[in-house]
């Protein structure tokens, strides 16, 4: 479990950060992708830069500034490149409100609420900011301009490339865009003045915005870029992706991922920050005016400079905060897409203590019952009962075996079930040995080498017959079935071809191994060849094969094995556990009945509770 769990706004429960739907209530975690404070608005606006004009509008509304500077010719193309922005701008005079947009106001209000949480950080951040204010404001300015650049790029990449070419032509030797150079020429003191409202007015809001922004001062070069990524990706994912990629994961090494233009801007900004002079009057709107005009938007209401500067700084920082949160959410979305198709890590389920209790109590009870039965209850005599049809069929086939007939006994079981199968197989081996049948032993498991010896000693057969080992599992069985000429080196040399045997007696404890013989060997030998002694657990698997005639007869479990032995005139191996087996079966019956009763009781009480409620 990571520390970054998301709390569902609907049911309040925790979810993994990668999910888009709450795993408890099933509702979408829309808030994850919504802008805080902007309810009812689409998180990813369909129109490119539709948010931008509103932000710029807010700047314009708060600060009115000097007349517009003349536009450089190179920017004309960039104006044409942004028809959407122009359209928005044309609409903006109608939509424009003299006040701050509602969504922005909500954002600021929420930021104000969070002031306490970041107060200490903010005060320290304010101090840091005072020390690094010059750098920071230049960086904010650069971030803003680069943000606008990216918006243009996302809208129409080709036009922007030509625009870049045009701007490159207009660039000076240092690679500074002409329009930015002009801005700086017009307002050389603005960058320094911009810093002052933050330095001189450490209001709660400003300190908050600074405090929130400053911890990321090391990342500030990338922060604004990354913050604008969600917007860019929303407006035009494909063109933006290439632009966004340089910014991805560049917190540690931002400069390596910058595009050429951004690198140039960064260097230029650093140069500017070193040479700027602090001024008394911040004139950010003046910087923005030419930019706004480049975008083709009309300058709007002017705002008193001093108030507007402070508010502008605050709104810029808060908006950067907003965009930063958008960036984080976009990163989460990216991670979610990257994790698509991958399996979730298994949730750690704490062990329920109830399970241990049940297991201990029931296990000890059953053990005690079995031990008590073994110690104090005498073994019962075998009762006469009608044998099932398949046992009768097995007995009939065995009765037809005579001297000289070849029988292959295949030992294909594990040590765990050896007692059960030995009790079934030993009487049958004694019978065919008495009949003078020529029988051979074949094992397919490595443990069969010593199980064969135990079986022979249980059956009282001496000398112990040669044990033939067949490697390869199903491959070996198939090879044995098709190799009529005994030319395969992997086959035991003393074995005959399978078709030479009158009957093949399988001693099985696994349904899947039994199926291997039915699928790899039986089709090559024809019907009426296979006799099966199988453990109780796989009696159901043999049933269809017996019904279809692929198995001549079979016995499953010690009871049917005892019936088979009796029908062959052999003394069944009476392991003294018949009573204990019955005790175990009765215990399971009681447990199942109890389980049904308790479940019915629980359902009834729940229904009563719901009725009362």
């Amino acid at each position: 479990m990571t520390a970054d769990m998301i709390v569902c706004p609907h049911c309040g429960k925790e979810n993994f950060p990668q999910v888009t739907r709450c795993v408890h209530c099933g509702k979408e975690l829309e808030e994850l992708f919504k802008i805080e404070g902007v309810e009812g608005t689409t998180p990813m606006p369909s129109e490119e830069g539709s948010e931008l004009p509103e932000i710029l509008k807010s700047f314009r509304e708060e600060e009115r500034k000097a007349p517009e500077p003349t536009e450089p010719p190179s920017t004309t193309e960039e104006q044409e490149d942004t028809p959407a922005l122009i359209e928005d701008d044309e609409q903006s005079p109608q939509k424009e409100e003299p006040e701050v947009p509602e969504w922005l106001a909500r954002i600021r209000a929420r930021a104000a609420q969070e002031t306490d949480a970041t107060g200490d950080l903010a005060s320290r951040a304010g101090t840091m900011d005072q020390v690094q204010s010059g750098e920071k404001h230049a960086e904010i300015d650069k971030e803003f301009t680069s943000w606008i650049e990216r918006l243009r790029e996302s809208k129409q990449r080709e036009v922007l490339q030509s625009a870049r070419k045009a701007s490159e032509e207009g660039e000076n030797a240092e690679g500074v865009p002409e329009w930015l150079q002009k801005i700086r020429e017009m307002h050389p003191e603005v960058e320094g003045e911009e810093t002052q409202p933050i330095e001189s007015e450490p209001s709660e809001e400003s300190s908050l915005s600074e405090g929130a922004a400053v911890p990321d001062v090391h990342e500030s070069k990338e922060a604004s870029r990354e913050e604008t990524q969600p917007l860019e990706e929303a407006t035009a994912p494909t063109p933006v992706s290439e632009a966004a990629q340089p910014e991805e994961g560049t917190l540690a090494e931002p400069q390596e991922e910058l595009t050429e233009e951004q690198r140039g801007e960064q260097l230029e900004t650093q140069a500017v920050s070193e040479t700027k002079k602090p001024t008394q009057e911040p004139k950010a709107p003046e910087i923005l005016e030419p930019i706004i005009e480049e975008l083709g938007m009309q300058p709007e209401v002017s705002v008193p400079p001093e108030e507007s500067e402070t508010a502008e700084e605050q709104s810029v920082a808060q908006d950067l905060l907003l965009l930063r949160s958008q960036k984080e959410r976009a990163e989460v979305l990216r991670n979610l897409i990257a994790e698509e198709g991958k399996a979730f890590p298994p949730a750690h389920k704490p062990k329920s203590p109830h399970k241990s209790w049940y297991r201990l109590v029931v296990g000890l009870f059953l053990l005690a019952a079995l031990i008590g039965t073994l110690l104090f209850v005498p073994p019962p005599t075998l009762k006469e009962s009608a044998a099932p049809a398949h046992v009768i069929a097995l007995q009939e086939v065995l009765q037809t075996l005579g001297s000289g007939d070849k029988v292959l006994v295949v030992l294909d079981y594990q040590p765990a079930t050896s007692r059960e199968l030995e009790s079934m197989a030993a009487p049958v081996l004694q019978f065919i040995a008495e009949r003078g049948v020529d029988w051979q032993l074949l094992v397919t498991q490595p443990s069969g080498l010593w199980l064969a010896q135990e079986l022979a000693s249980t059956a009282g057969i001496t000398p112990i017959p040669e044990v033939n080992y067949l490697p390869g599992g199903g491959l070996g069985v198939f090879a044995l079935a098709i190799d009529q000429n005994k030319s395969l080196p992997l086959l035991p040399t003393s074995l005959s071809a399978l078709s030479d045997y009158r009957a093949i007696l399988l001693l099985e404890d696994s349904g899947s191994q039994f199926q291997v013989w039915m699928e790899q060997a039986a089709p090559w030998l024809g019907k009426a060849r296979f006799l099966v002694l199988i453990a109780s657990q796989d009696a159901a698997v043999v049933l269809p094969y017996y019904d279809s005639g692929q198995v001549s007869g079979y016995a499953a479990g010690t009871q049917e094995g005892a019936l088979t032995a009796k029908s062959l005139g052999q003394q069944p191996l009476q392991l003294p556990h018949e009573r204990a087996l019955q005790v175990g079966l009765i215990t399971m019956m009681v447990i199942l009945i109890l389980a049904m009763i308790t479940k019915a009781e629980a359902d009834a009480s729940e229904r009563r509770r719901e009725k009362n409620a």
Binding site: P415, G472, L475, P544, L585, M588
Partner: protein, 204 residues
């Protein structure tokens, strides 16, 4: 090209075996050769798996990770039984006696433990799975077969009861047949996908 070679080998070997099964007299020799190679490779693959297991536990011992004592037990037991088998021979009665003395009680006890755990788990069966056609039929069927397993009804030797018992014991035939056909179709489809190169369980 590198990725295509294993696919090509799988497809060719599968098609060759299928062709040999159809035209067995003509291609019997090739089939036997391929079977021989396949058995050797399968055995070597099992040995490689065992070696990987051993290496993993050896690394755990060297780095003294949590639970390394269990790895130590495993590695020591492996080395002793392997050395004993290679020196004395895998058919040596005394060697097999020792192997049996450890394998038989441990495996039988594990299977017996499964019976105890099953009994405990049955108590919570319906609470966890709820009531459905599957669980109700499972519960009733289990009770019936437990009753039949006691052998008391068969011991009564009432002919009509024996007929009913016969039908009850044959009832799982329907479900088992359906399951076998379903599993067989799935296995057939998977086999065709491998032979046609659409499925690559050996790695891309």
């Amino acid at each position: 090209m590198k990725k295509a070679i294993p696919i090509l080998i799988a497809v060719l070997s599968g098609l060759l075996v299928l062709a040999a099964l159809i035209w067995q007299p003509q291609l019997e020799g090739w089939l036997e050769v391929m079977l021989n190679w396949a058995v050797i490779i399968a055995s070597m693959a099992a040995l490689v798996a065992l070696a990987t297991l051993l290496l993993a536990h050896t690394r755990k011992i060297i780095k003294v990770r949590h639970g390394f004592i269990y790895s130590l037990i495993l590695v020591v037991a492996f080395l002793v039984s392997f050395a004993g088998g290679m020196t004395a021979g895998v058919e040596n009665p005394n060697y097999l006696h020792w192997i049996a003395a450890i394998q038989q009680p441990a495996e039988a006890s594990l299977l017996g433990l499964a019976a105890l755990v099953m009994a405990a788990a049955s108590l919570r069966l319906f609470h966890q799975r709820g009531w459905s056609a599957l669980t109700v039929s499972f519960g009733i069927s289990a009770l019936v077969f437990l009753m039949l397993g006691l052998g008391w009804l068969q011991a009564l030797q009432i002919p009509q009861l024996d007929i009913v018992i016969g039908y009850l014991e044959a009832l799982p035939l329907v479900g088992m047949r359906g399951l076998l056909i379903g599993m067989g179709l799935g296995a057939l489809l998977l086999g065709f996908r491998i032979v046609l190169g659409l499925e690559r369980p050996y790695g891309e």
